[in-house]
Symmetry: C2
Subunit: 189 residues, 2 copies
DNA sequence: CGTCTATTTGAATGTACTCAAAAGCGGTGG
DNA sequence: CCACCGCTTTTGAGTACATTCAAATAGACG
């Protein structure tokens, strides 16, 4: 079901074959076609999703109707409205497929069970959250420290494939600027 | 040594008395007086610090010499340059005491040892990072979605004591605006 | 081929910025 | 205890940059 997930787990923790099988037995496979939503804001996020194939984005919509992208997720990464998931409160984020995608869903109550029966998972998610935390901190710091143009350059050098897979309108949203501003930044290069 | 830490641990995980004692035996107590640095950017962050008393801030300095505060830490919270700590690379952040403070330092190599000998710690830090991650995401989202004035209001309603303990110049830096702008925002209230 | 969305371009606007300076405040030493 | 000094906060004026609004062009997809 999840060779990719299998590798992902094994790369971070020592985990037995039967533990992986158990883990995978709790996952639900789902396909999400382009532009389709995996999560709608307002409903509780009942899962974390491991991306097997494709690309998704999570975003909020502000009071003026402007979208703000919190995360792009590609193969081998997890995506969710984590705050909603952890507190089982209505989501503030939407999650939408940028490409036709395939995800493995892990349910909230199942995750709690799995933490108990596969102790190594605590370590796995500890490392995952640790990395997610530091990269979000770095992104926040960039947002506060450097110009949109520099952030754009940083982004395309760190994730060059993103430009090919994601429309600029979403890149602009991720960077916190308008599509018009991004267009002008790109013209100057 | 750390009644506060003791409570903090016990609130999140099941942990035995002797495990807490073991944990605490690896901690080094240190006082940091106001304006003194606990960490200088450029040197490797060898510790995570649990704040027993006082208030510290972590911040970066950008190419124009402007400070950007990544975190305020008060009693019962941890502070570090986590990226530097985890990768044992030179820190990009400075950590400075805003008030006379007392911290308990946990060394990098000791933490790895403790993860092995006290399995519950994985869970403890998993939860800690999980929370840190979601709150940083929410802060990032606020930075991109709402005006500085609204972010200021959000901050003082969420952490009213911060205004009393931290000079406005630092609040401005945390919000990503100049002290002049913050002063004007406050005048309009 | 036609429609819908993404991207680009232009012009006018506004908000936060910089720079400069004054006022306020806290702490230290004589 | 008061005077001074340094740092914080406020205020003012001019500027710069991304934004908004509008419209044209380009691309993707059925």
């Amino acid at each position: 079901m999840g060779e990719l997930l299998n590798k992902n787990l094994s790369a971070l923790i020592d985990i037995k074959k039967e533990e992986i099988e158990k883990f995978e037995s709790f996952l639900i496979k789902r396909t999400v076609s382009k532009k389709q939503n995996l999560l709608n804001h307002g409903s509780v996020c009942r899962f974390v999703a491991f991306i097997n194939k494709g690309c998704l984005r999570s975003y909020s919509v502000d009071a003026n109707g402007i979208e703000h992208i919190t995360q792009f997720g590609v193969e081998n990464h997890w995506i969710a409205d984590l705050y909603s998931f952890l507190n089982q409160t209505p989501a503030t984020l939407n999650i939408e497929a940028v490409e036709d995608s395939e995800v493995l869903l892990l349910d909230f109550s199942n995750l709690e069970k799995l933490y108990k029966s596969i102790p190594g998972l605590e370590r796995y998610f500890r490392i995952l959250f640790q990395n997610a935390y530091t990269s979000t901190q770095r992104r926040l710091n960039s947002t506060l420290s450097i110009s949109a143009a520099d952030r754009y350059n940083e982004l395309i050098t760190s994730y060059p494939e993103l430009i090919r897979r994601v429309p600029l309108i979403h890149i602009a949203s991720y960077l916190g600027i308008t599509p018009e501003s991004l267009s002008r930044i790109r013209k100057r290069l």
